[in-house]
């Protein structure tokens, strides 16, 4: 009895994730930052001389690209911590970051491709940055697939942690291999146009806004994963408690009769 009630008390005492006044502050600042970023991208920042308005795509593109790399870094860190500590929460953080990372990598590839079509005239080119990002996308889609296909929860966490670490280790290797490849077969690269102070400010605000957005997403997904784990634990605890109760009943009945 005490076990189940203590678990239930623990759940009830916790605030729902990112609601209440703290959540309000976070969501309000996110809204303001995003609105500011959008305003600056589309109205405040001047059009670029060569690229024209297509240039505006790059602010968001740079932000999501850097955050995708950051998210995969978090996956690797959380994976190492999981293998070391074996605490389910590190695994929850890894899966949350991996999902957000894949989302942001998809956005990076899509925005980059649209920009490339307007400025370079092609949807795709084998630039090291593009190629590495694409390989990274494949690696973390495989990471999510691997998790999906393993039923045993402990095995899933262990194996995913190993793959999460190996995936990140592979990134610099992919980068260098494509970089060397390019030195043999030069391809078109980004024109380094000078940025005006307005453009720099817009970029900074956009990166800050997307960073907050990224952390909110990871946090929400992390809490969801933790809640799902706790749900499983709670179900197991209640079943254990039920077994316990049934056993006590079974034991006490013959004694009562005698």
């Amino acid at each position: 009895m005490s076990l189940a009630s203590s678990v239930l008390r623990r759940r009830a005492s916790r605030q729902p994730p990112l609601f209440g006044w703290r959540g309000l502050v976070v969501y309000a600042s996110l809204l303001v930052l995003m609105a500011a970023a959008l305003y600056m991208i589309f109205i405040y920042a001047p059009a670029e001389r060569v690229q024209g308005d297509a240039h505006r795509l790059l602010y968001g593109h740079v932000a999501v690209a850097w955050l995708a790399f950051l998210a995969f870094g978090i996956v690797a860190f959380a994976s190492v911590m999981y293998l070391w500590r074996r605490t389910a929460r590190w695994d929850s953080l890894a899966v949350a970051s991996a999902e957000v990372g894949v989302l942001f990598t998809t956005l990076t590839l899509a925005s980059g491709s649209i920009w490339g079509r307007h400025v370079w005239g092609v949807w795709w080119t084998w630039d090291p940055r593009l190629t590495t990002t694409l390989v990274l996308w494949f690696i973390y889609v495989a990471y999510l697939a691997l998790r999906m296909y393993i039923d045993n929860v402990d095995t899933r966490r262990r194996v995913a942690a190993i793959f999460g670490i190996v995936g990140v280790v592979d990134v610099p290797i992919v980068w260098y291999s494509v970089e060397w490849w390019r030195s043999l077969h030069p391809v078109q690269s980004v024109t380094r146009a000078g940025l005006t102070p307005e453009m720099v400010l817009t970029l900074v605000v956009t990166v800050v806004a997307f960073t907050v957005f990224c952390f909110v997403l990871i946090r929400q997904r992390y809490l969801l994963e933790c809640a799902s784990d706790e749900g499983e634990d709670l179900r197991d605890s209640v079943r254990n408690w039920h077994d316990e109760l049934r056993l006590t009943g079974a034991r006490s009945t013959p004694e009562a009769r005698t």
Partner: protein, 456 residues
């Protein structure tokens, strides 16, 4: 007072947080035999698997031969013999070879005599040279008993040993245990009270997650503790033993090599048709692209079966039970895969030389092949171990291995083009260097992380 052979102190076992058996306390002295009685689903198998170090407990403590099953897993494995529901024997090895293989893994002395004696005790001496896959279920069970008792463990854990034995064998079971490992404590699970009465001195009833009948110490006179025959075996010896076993099994089963060679032939001809005949690409570029992308496909296909066949035959359990460094299992598998990839690579160079009229058997190409083999096999072997417990490993395997192996393919193509287009000496060196780095990184990571992948 002499230490107990097996001690369970408020041990809780189960899955996730779900308890299957709670707060089990039990002590077995040397030579004592205890039967675990209980209905299906009572938790007998889970308890035995936990004591055999195959599954971590959820709480409490258990020691086998003085070694904690969690803290000193490898130490505990020296003192445990386990017979599970399904036999963990290698089908393509004979009964004698199975035992000799285990004797090498456990570092036993006087192997030949020990194996012969064990075979005669379980009544298999006449069919000792028959392969395990040709034995009946009952004969396999006898062989499993011999395998579990071969190293004279302090504790023998038997999960329903009577399940597939005939009536005579069940009657002989106590005598078999006496002769096989005298002095070992035996904990066996069964549904049958008659078997329990015949084979064990006392019984413990488990039901609804608890030990119903409390443990009362046996009255039998204590026997001297058993000294296990298992000794420390070096990493290299273990890896060599495992590689020899894998190579012998592959030779007898011919599971991989013929299919892989046929696949290589098919893919090479297909690519050649597509690129040279239809697209009219130039020969060196085709050779460079086809050679390494085919090898990448071959390595990831071959990787599916690498650990998968052991998993399907339940023989990985036998390796997990052995007191060995589990990374040695990876090293042996890696070497086997590398041998396959190398042979396929050589065949492919010969094919491409003939089809494209190129001289591919030259120093630069062979060095590239060697390094690509080492690096690709490292990536594929590791992903094979990771995909082991997944549901759709045939589909998943290429999905995991191919993106990670892209640098290997790029470097292979780069080195080949440098070599074939007659670049100045040393032009291929950076690519070969990159291959060496990839190989070193993946090998180091795999050897380090493999035990986490398979052994908790």
């Amino acid at each position: 007072m002499q230490p107990s052979a097996l001690t369970l102190n408020r041990l809780t076992v189960g899955f996730g947080r779900r308890h299957v058996l709670r707060d089990v306390s039990l002590t077995l002295r040397a030579g004592e035999r205890v039967a675990l009685l209980g209905p299906n689903g009572a938790g007998k198998t889970t308890l035995l698997r936990t004591l055999a170090t195959l599954q971590p407990p959820l709480g409490g403590q258990a020691t086998v031969g003085g070694a904690d099953v969690v803290q000193r897993k490898r130490g505990a494995r020296r003192h445990v013999g386990f017979v599970g529901h399904t036999p963990h024997l290698i089908g393509h090895l004979t009964a004698r070879e199975n035992l000799a293989f285990l004797a090498s893994l456990y570092g036993l002395s006087n192997t030949g005599a020990r194996v012969s004696e064990a075979l005669s005790v379980v009544g298999l001496d006449e069919i000792a040279n028959r392969r395990a896959r040709e034995l009946s279920r009952g004969q396999l069970q006898r062989l499993s008993l011999a395998a579990a008792g071969l190293h004279h463990p302090a504790v023998l854990l038997l999960d329903e040993p009577d399940a597939s034995l005939d009536r005579d064998a069940v009657r002989e079971l106590p005598a078999m245990l006496d002769a096989l490992c005298p002095g070992s404590a035996v904990l066996l699970s069964t549904h049958d009270p008659d078997v329990a009465a015949r084979a064990a001195g006392r019984s413990v009833l488990v039901d609804q997650g608890r030990v119903i009948e409390p443990d009362t110490p046996g009255t039998a006179a204590p026997e001297p503790p058993v000294t296990t025959g298992a000794t420390n075996v070096s990493f290299a010896t273990t890896a060599w033993t495992l590689l020899r076993k894998d190579a012998l099994v592959e030779w007898r089963a011919r599971e991989q090599a013929p299919a892989l060679l046929a696949f290589t032939l098919l893919i090479t001809v297909l690519f050649d048709m597509a690129f040279v005949i239809l697209a009219q690409a130039d020969a060196p570029a085709v050779a460079a692209g086809v050679a390494w992308s085919t090898l990448l496909l071959v390595a990831s296909l071959s990787g599916v079966r690498l650990f998968g066949s052991e998993r399907d035959a339940n023989t990985l359990t036998c390796l997990r039970l052995a007191p060995i460094d589990q990374s040695a299992v990876f090293v042996a598998k890696y070497l086997l895969l590398a041998a396959h990839v190398l042979v396929v690579g050589l065949v492919q160079l010969a094919l491409l030389s003939a089809l494209l009229d190129l001289q591919l058997f030259q120093g630069g190409m062979l060095a590239t092949l060697g390094l690509v083999t080492i690096a690709l096999s490292a990536v594929a072997a590791m992903q094979s171990a990771l995909a082991l417990e997944s549901r759709a490993r045939e589909v998943l395997m290429p999905l995991l291995a191919v993106p990670l192996a892209i640098p290997v393919m790029l470097a292979g193509v780069g080195a080949t083009l440098e070599t074939l287009q007659g670049a100045p000496a040393g032009g291929a060196a950076p690519w070969l260097g990159l291959l060496a780095v990839v190989a070193a990184v993946f090998l180091a990571l795999s050897v380090l992380l493999y035990p986490h992948a398979v052994d908790g």
